[in-house]
Symmetry: C2
Amino acid sequence: MSIDGNEPDRTPKWQRRPEQRRREILDAARSAFGCFGYQRATLSEVAERAGVCSGTVSHYFGSKSELFEALIADQFIGFVEREEAAVASFTGPMRDLLHVILRDIWEHAWTPGRLELMQVLLVEADEFPAAGQLFCRQLGHRWRGIFGRILETGMANGEFKALDPNVASRVVLYSLLGTAQKMAVVGKFDPEMPDRDLVLQGLTDMIDCYVAAPTPAIAQRAAATHETSKRRKVST
Amino acid sequence: MSIDGNEPDRTPKWQRRPEQRRREILDAARSAFGCFGYQRATLSEVAERAGVCSGTVSHYFGSKSELFEALIADQFIGFVEREEAAVASFTGPMRDLLHVILRDIWEHAWTPGRLELMQVLLVEADEFPAAGQLFCRQLGHRWRGIFGRILETGMANGEFKALDPNVASRVVLYSLLGTAQKMAVVGKFDPEMPDRDLVLQGLTDMIDCYVAAPTPAIAQRAAATHETSKRRKVST
């Protein structure tokens, strides 16, 4: 069975086209790197999961580090490109667009093997500097671009409050992905873990409140509360 | 130099008391497990970092898995106990208490070696089920208790809106810790990473807005926006 839970391909392996073989190796690599981490995963482990020999993996992708970089590109670059296109063509309230993007990222993160792969990137980033830099510079920059554009458009049209896009875009993105990662791990041991959709709804509500422009009433109340809390001593 | 950046202890090692030796081994273990992960860290690596022989580590803590469980207890259980006591003795607005707890968790997470240790827990949880369950059941339950108590008290006194504490406490805690973890890794490669305090301020603002009780004006506006967005088709 493929790791996405799809039906296995019944075509004999020798008849499959190179593009399909490439796809199978990348899916196997996502599973192997996600399961064992970068250091401990081997090309032969990837080959076994893809049902090919190690030489075929090397033929398509070269070394382990080259395969890993191709995997990162495959898993994350195409997605950010599609989201950039969605943002560029969108007309409507920025709040609606923000909701679409948050849900897309959430669903993308929950694809089997992908959160595990992101965790490998978190823990082993020091050990593959080239891929780490690729991940950070290209993806981080592009995701901040997407959120920055949404935030700035929303600020300009009066939907959103004034926020530093470099801070706000990270707070939003890191909260979303960080929550998915914690849920995935803690959920293995925690029978009270709420449904994924309920948590996304909570995150979306939280982010909504964070970016929404205040009404005058709320702004006055917030200022008053701020003054009160400055005068009060916190008793811990 | 110790990993906390403190001055090294100049007392000869043989003169130090067992409690101090125990402390040194735990600090060395935090560093070794954080650096290599659970699988690859060894008792002799821990011993070397603590400046003792492997037998001494075993004498104090037993096996690698026992040392790891002692480390988790040392790093996280004492902290949650102190926060529980702070919550129990607090009198004042729940919003102020929430800010104190958020800042305490943030500072605690940024102690050298601790975010790395949390990442090891995330990635290798399957490989140490006993410690993973300890972490999840005890800590998760207690942290949800802390946030649940703050949220429920704030809902009862009218400061906070009606939220499901099981969802809201996770959204808040996972966003906070997930953001710290992402920042720590991405910050290594990203010269535009904002200051830690600015990000905490953004997170606190976001969480504030999420839990605050709406004014009647905002509630009407939110309901109207919700209706508008349900009627609108999102064009992606």
